[in-house]
Amino acid sequence: MRDTNHTGAQDPDVGLMLAFQQGDEESFVMLYRAYRDRIYNFCRRMLSRTDLAEEATQEVFLKLYQQRVRYEPRSRFSTYVFRIAANHCINMRQRRGFRESDSEIVDRQAAPDGASPARALEQRRLREQLQNALASLPGQQAAALLLCHYDGLSYRETADSLRISESAVKSLVHRARERLMEALSTGNGVEGDHAVL
């Protein structure tokens, strides 16, 4: 059993992946259930469209299934699976010539308990503006920011996922946040829009 730098004891998900590599299909299902929503939300925020996010999520797990023979536990499993997801989403954005106008919000997020309709509408507007602003970021900037902010990856883990240096991640995250603040403070060209920050 290949287990170099990261053992199943250190990261249980690595253990599951190694078991799957040995033929235990149930381990793959467990990994799928553990990471499905995380990968889906990463793809959703990267691609700004529900249908594309679902397609990308499925592709990530299919790749995980197909590439199990080549898996080597050099880092945490989350780093590995988000690497697949980030590469896939960045490539999709490039292939599609991704633009802000491509973003589409399917508002399935529940309004806060007791929220008035006006508040719910405001929340929806803010999410839409954020989605548009994220769509305006270059792919690697968006990926670095999302991995650090939402998925709790350290700079080192994010660097591992994106196959860049730690200092490059810091730079990307810094620039991404600056650009988001700029986009959200001046509006983003949507009619009737106004500054958020």
Partner: protein
């Protein structure tokens, strides 16, 4: 701490922590405190994008695709064998067809055989004529210019 340092730290303080030095600077600097509030507002906005689940039926669709992939897998493992066999079969078939076509004397009707033979003769004569010219050019290329000039003068007489 200078303001530019503070602004740089503010941009990533969410992930690296703020530190006492930055706290002290923000207490003393109105401009950086304003910048910090903008950063805080951005984080609030980012945090407001709550995680979602995929639409109903997602799991069913995914596992259906996975089953399809698994059904294809045994064939894909042997795919290159099949390609090799298919390519070999196609090549053998092509050679067989060419061999059959080449044996015109046993395939063509009698009245067409003479025509075909004559055509072959014509083609061969044409080829021979060109070969003679090519051979002539090769020979001429080996001759020095003085000899060429003398040959030309002799032809001219």
């Amino acid at each position: 701490m200078q303001c530019y340092e503070a602004r740089r730290l503010l941009a990533t303080s969410r992930y690296e922590g703020q530190g006492a030095e930055l706290d002290a600077h923000l207490t003393a600097c109105d401009a950086c405190r304003t910048a910090a509030s903008r950063v805080s507002a951005l984080d609030t906005l980012l945090d407001g994008d709550l995680p979602e689940e995929p639409r109903p039926g997602f799991d069913t669709r995914f596992f259906a695709r996975l089953d399809e992939l698994k059904r294809e897998k045994p064939a894909s493992k042997l795919a290159w064998w099949w390609y090799l066999v298919s390519a070999g079969s196609a090549a053998a078939l092509a050679l067989g067809i060419f061999a059959l076509v080449g044996r015109t004397s046993t395939v063509l009707p009698a009245e067409d055989r003479e025509l075909v033979a004559n055509l072959e003769l014509v083609e061969n004569e044409d080829l021979l004529r060109h070969l003679d010219e090519v051979e002539a050019y090769v020979l001429l290329a080996q001759v020095d210019s003085a000899t060429l000039e003398r040959m030309a003068q002799e032809r001219g007489r």
